[in-house]
Symmetry: C2
Subunit: 414 residues, 2 copies
């Protein structure tokens, strides 16, 4: 097998931990596998370097910040290669540009365009462990770029895709992906297998252990991703393509995202182009709008409601007051509500099971949790509730859909 | 003018000092010059990184050490570029491989083969200050290399040569190059102008402020080098080609190197190939032999004396005992003497002034300093004395040749 392993900053945070990672890489190789390893900067290092940059410039150039913070991973790969050699293994380090990880030029949040992992392949075939710097790449002009927080996950999956590896193992400090946040829901269970689609929808759970772009990339190239702990050898969570043989649990997990705000534009004329006029100024200013609901029309008017992160609501309201001045003069008005949370249930099984939404609403109603907004996709149902009910909602839905039980023991809804 | 400035680790050792360097770069640019800057790692950073590597591997791979320590300069260039921007200037950083500083593959002590500074030239012409990482390069295979301690000086002069710059300013924490070590000789004076040849011979003075390879490179490409303090604006020492208009002082400076050892092989058969048989095993084991003196032959035998650094003398004696076993069986024998120092006077003016050697011997004799070995080159005379006399010898020669006076006030010897 060809195995790509990715270790995060915590896993390489000290000299002792780097040595432990080296032992793990070598153990994998000694099982007869070819091994390529992607590593992050030692924990705290990226923040230390960012701190230096900010002490010099309050709003530092992204290009130069990328030059500075890319050194964190460079140190890590050198040290890990030395640690593997110290244990009698053979290893060689590669920086982003040495593996030709070509990205666009969006410094600090670049996206990978291509990889030429031939050097890595040659090293692996020669019995070496290839140690590759995560998080970094180079644009077409030869500038150093970085991929954004969590970017080493994406490097790991991209390298695995380029090498056509059998698996990309993402080592982290948790056991895997859970059916709900274990801090909120004591009955949360580790998920054994989850589809890429589900993992993407489980973002608010998954983002803590896996950069979402790495999941998109895994899905695109069919790379099996294994999220597991670097502290023990038990299996973690496999993120894999949907297969007919997979158990189709109705609901794979329950997530909650806090700090949502609801904005409603009342009395909007019900005519073509109005929605665009509302959302254009927001998107032009980089405000991400999440759920959008248009209520039924009445007497030629409708209400338009949407959610934005709390950090953006002030700016969103200002922009709308300016850009909708004409509508407002015509009788429309704006209202924002803070203190909301979005609670979602996610599962590919929903597609073939009616009644999941109905059951969700009943479970919440039984606890007298009022639903303010509803939005559904093929494999996700989201509701917006007051933040104070968010944790209760997660627990009720989690156990109500049987996620406290092993998949085989769960009763279908309909 | 096109000015290349090089700042060492002390000059960029803190955020405050980086800001001061930024002001100096901008001040130079605002005088109407194009400016490219080469910087070292922040002081202490290279040692910190080496320490990490050695905590992992007692004898770390040079390739991986170079990957690790090259990050020091990478952080510096990013920070300095940000500091220049914070002051309202425009700057862009370049790493070794981005300026195509191609080296051989001798990791940790690589030599530059070529530079393509076109990117730098374009940036300078566009009004930007180009900030270039010193000390680092890339070999033909794309591996990161470093140039050895003081390598940033060499980067500076190499960039200046590639750009055909008008001057390469080497900023350091001393005022320039002195006629003798000011800690030894209170009357030592700053040298205003010195030729490349003299500077090379003044290695033991110059090495503290200027990597010797940078002088060789400056000589090869005719780059005027200006060694000066980063703490004030006074002129330092210019290292320049020899010109007829230059004042030909007989002696430019006096140097001393301690920790020399003398090795003598007595009763060597006086036949061709014997010298080679003595020095081959030493050079094969990387032992640098300095002065070599062969005494007059007598009855078909001669004595061969040479000096080596004290750190190598044990190994040198072992090697000779093994490799000269046949000679030793035939009557030759070995002797080593420690506790010696080499004191030299250097100056291009010597070529046209007879009597400098004679005057040197007389000055030493007057103080009853015994000379153990003598070696001369075109512009240097060296003597080996007991270490306890080294400082006295430097002071006596310095003032004896009038170096305590301004060049114009010195009386010629002959």
């Amino acid at each position: 097998m060809l195995v790509v392993q990715k270790y995060g900053g915590t896993s390489v945070g000290t000299i002792a931990r780097i040595k432990r990672v080296a032992r793990r890489c070598l153990a994998t190789q000694r099982q007869g596998h070819e091994v390529a390893v992607v590593v992050s900067a030692m924990s705290g290092e990226t923040n230390r370097l960012l701190g230096l940059a900010r002490r010099i410039h309050s709003d530092p150039s992204d290009r130069e910040v990328d030059v500075i913070i890319a050194t964190g991973e460079q140190v890590s790969v050198g040290l890990l290669a030395l640690a593997i050699r110290a244990l009698g293994g053979d290893a060689v380090s590669f920086l982003g540009h040495q593996v030709k990880i070509t990205t666009d030029s969006a410094f600090s949040r670049a996206r990978i365009r291509s990889i030429d992992a031939e050097n890595v392949r040659i090293a692996c075939r020669a019995g070496k462990i290839a140690v590759i710097a995560g998080f970094q790449g180079m644009d077409e002009q030869g500038n150093i770029t970085t991929l954004g927080r969590g970017g080493s996950d994406t490097t790991g999956v991209a390298i695995a895709a380029a090498l056509k590896a059998d698996v990309c193992e993402i080592y982290t400090d948790v056991d895997g992906v859970y059916t709900a946040d274990p801090n909120v829901c004591l009955t949360a269970r580790k998920i054994e297998r989850v589809t890429y689609e589900e993992m993407l929808e489980l973002a608010s759970l998954g983002a803590k252990v896996l950069q979402i772009r790495s999941v998109e990339l895994g899905m695109k190239y069919g790379v099996p991703i294994h999220v597991r702990s670097s502290f023990h050898k038990r299996e973690g969570t496999w993120v894999v393509p949907e297969e007919s043989s997979m158990e189709h649990v109705e609901v794979a997990g329950v997530t909650a995202s806090r700090d949502e705000c609801k904005v409603t534009v009342f009395m909007v004329p019900d005519r073509p182009g109005v929605a665009a006029s509302i959302f254009r100024p927001l998107s032009e200013h980089g405000i991400v709008v999440d759920m959008i609901i248009q209520s039924a029309s009445s007497e030629g008017h409708t209400d338009m409601t949407f959610t934005v992160p709390r950090s953006d609501v002030g700016r969103a309201m200002q922009l709308l007051e300016v850009h909708l001045a004409e509508l407002i003069a015509g009788g429309a008005h704006l209202k924002s509500t803070e203190g909301l949370a979005k609670v979602s249930v996610v599962g590919v099984g929903m597609r073939s099971h009616a009644g999941v939404a109905q059951k969700m609403f009943e479970l919440l109603a039984r606890e007298r949790i009022n639903i303010l907004l509803i939005s559904t996709s093929e494999i996700k149902i989201s509701v917006v509730v007051e933040t104070k009910y968010a944790e209760l909602a997660v627990r009720v839905l989690h156990d109500g859909f049987g996620l406290d039980l092993p998949p085989a023991a769960r009763a279908p809804t309909a």
